[in-house]
């Protein structure tokens, strides 16, 4: 079982992004499960999402405390001790950040580190917003850095969630994330 933990701020799309990734994996024949954790407030509050991928049905509903992979949607959260807590040695980290993967230090040896400046790409694709939407950009980065899902498997879940123009913009965003991500294995 692959246990992945997402951290983001409300409004960046961590919950819907994780769901689209889960759907893409499911459409490829894997089992998936997405559990979001947030408080009463949405926009601006901290959001954690647990995502599990496996070859067999996933039964446990508990949180993920020792993730195989960490996905951080907001650069400000990378430094937070709660965010990096429990990340497994030899694990994966994919961050929305301007630094290079070689500069990433999460206090544990990792086998796969990737960074993408999703905030800048978001401005390019969606324009300037109080809380930049970065989820689909990160999904593209994940597809390239990990191979958990194929890039084109993400298109259907995106268009299902956002039919029409918004979906098309997000498909563009996911491709840009895929192309822009820097990976160090």
């Amino acid at each position: 079982m692959n246990e992945i933990r997402f951290h983001g701020m409300g409004g960046q799309g961590a919950v819907s992004g994780a769901l689209m990734l889960a759907e893409a994996a499911f459409n490829e024949g894997k089992y998936a499960q997405k559990i979001p954790v947030y408080g009463g407030m949405r926009r601006g509050g901290d959001v954690t999402v647990f995502l599990r991928l496996d070859d067999k049905p996933i039964r446990r509903t508990s949180g993920i405390y020792e993730p195989d992979a960490l996905i951080v949607l907001d650069p400000a959260l990378v430094e937070h001790p709660k965010v990096r807590q429990g990340l497994k040695k030899g694990g994966t980290a994919i961050l929305n950040h301007t630094i290079k993967p070689s500069e990433v230090d999460l206090g544990v040896e990792l086998s796969n580190v990737a960074t993408v400046d999703a905030t800048s790409i978001s401005v390019e694709v969606f324009g300037v917003r109080a809380i930049p939407i970065v989820n689909t950009i990160i999904m593209g980065a994940i597809a390239k850095a990990t191979g958990w899902v194929k890039l084109d498997s993400l298109y259907e879940p995106i268009m299902h969630a956002f039919p029409g123009r918004i979906g098309e913009l997000n498909v563009e965003a996911v491709k840009k994330g895929y192309d822009a991500v820097e990976v160090r294995k």
Partner: protein
């Protein structure tokens, strides 16, 4: 309109909305604001987009939601609604009407913790507080079970030996917002299995006006008690039949999981059951003689089934995601089970755990701890703590 079966990632709320839609619920009276969940917003969307033919009555509070549901059900409409925590409790006053009036309303109780400091996350106090109302209470483990149980719920509720309302319970967050692959059966198949609602006792047609007499308090109460007894068999039968037609079943009111040769078992309700399955399997591989019992039906309580299976085990650990302050001992489920087993010879020891209160996570570590404590009681013949507040021990992370 989608008529073919399909499977998608879906959370419990969306699955519940599909359940109500497939059951062709005709009237959905609901209060749409907190503590209501997204379930009602999914249904409102179905109706607004013309995908579901139902009257959505947006009322000013949960009390009115149930009052409107009682009226609609009496008038011959299939009724669906939902609420949680403080909203469900606000509904308490009219909530007593459907069982006595024998109205087969199906409702989701999305379990969320009570005030003060309650919130979006689950425990079971909101539902267990309705213990004495006469509602049938079933508890689901994941979105698939939610959808299936709503369909089964109508079949049970509308059975002329039952005619009772059914509450389909599922945990906030861990089911309501947790997406897992969920199969939505074909509408045509559901239509074949679940015929339109027609109450044999009621008719509001002027040429054939009938309603059961409601004068005798005792008769009404005896009727509800008897219907609860009869419901036990009907719930089993509906489950078996559902499995035959749709390929998924849930063992009625109670499921024994990996219990062969077990000396001790733990008892769970709702979403934590999935986690417990993984823990029990892992412990079995290490040679520990532990099993799991999923209590799916709390009302009617499967007393006879418990009495039959309990003597196989030396100790039973009941996991109560609720409190009953100042009680005879421990949580609501554990007290219920103690009464069920009181006259049983060779009854096992009872250990009681409080855990996951106000939606704190029930972790693998905590479940392993509870399994080990129950095994210890089985080995030593002694119960260390009659009531154990698991969260007071440091067993690693909780969120």
């Amino acid at each position: 309109m989608i008529t073919e079966e399909f499977t998608r990632m879906m959370d419990g709320n969306e699955a519940a909305a599909w359940g109500a839609k497939l059951a062709r619920a005709e009237v959905v009276p609901a209060y749409p604001i907190t503590p209501q969940t997204e379930l009602i917003s999914h249904i409102a969307t179905f109706i607004a987009e013309g995908k579901m033919k139902a009257e959505y009555i947006k009322v000013e509070g949960e009390h009115t939601a149930m009052a409107a549901g009682i009226g609609a059900s009496t008038a011959g409409a299939r009724v669906f609604t939902a609420s949680s925590s403080q909203g469900l409790v606000f509904m308490e006053e009219p909530l007593w009407q459907p069982p006595g009036r024998r109205l087969p309303i199906v409702m989701c109780w999305v379990n969320r913790s009570m005030a003060p400091l309650g919130g979006l996350r689950p425990d079971h106090n909101d539902a267990l507080l309705q213990r004495d109302t006469g509602w049938i209470q079933l508890y689901c483990e994941n979105s698939q079970e939610v959808l299936d149980t709503i369909l089964m719920g109508y079949k049970i509720a509308e059975n002329n030996q039952v005619y009772l309302p059914v509450a389909v319970n599922y945990d906030g967050y861990f089911v309501s917002a947790t997406a897992t692959p969920t199969t939505v059966p074909a509408q045509t198949k559901v239509d074949e299995w679940l015929p339109p609602y027609k109450h044999e006792w009621y008719s509001l047609m002027p040429e054939d006006f009938r309603a059961p007499p409601m004068r005798d308090f005792l008769q009404v109460r005896l009727g509800v008690a008897e219907a609860n007894e009869k419901a036990k068999k009907i719930i089993e039968e509906v489950d078996t039949d559902y499995k035959k037609v749709f390929g998924r079943g849930y063992d009625g009111l109670l499921e024994e999981y990996n219990c062969d040769g077990a000396e001790a078992v733990i008892v769970t309700m709702g979403s934590m059951t999935g986690t417990a399955r993984d823990v029990v399997d892992e412990m079995r591989e290490k040679g520990k003689k532990i099993g799991l019992i999923k209590l799916r039906g709390f009302r009617p309580f499967p007393t006879e089934e418990w009495q039959k299976i309990a003597p196989k085990y030396k100790a039973i650990g009941v996991v109560d995601r609720n409190n009953s302050f100042g009680s005879a001992g421990g949580g609501v489920v554990s007290m219920e089970l103690a009464r069920a087993l009181y006259h049983v010879e060779d009854k096992p020891l009872l250990v009681n755990f409080h855990v996951g209160l106000s939606g704190t996570d029930v972790t693998m570590n905590q479940i392993e701890y509870m399994c080990n404590e129950t095994l210890l009681a089985a080995e030593t013949g002694e119960v260390k703590n009659a009531v154990d507040w698991v969260e007071t021990h440091d067993l690693g992370e909780v969120m």
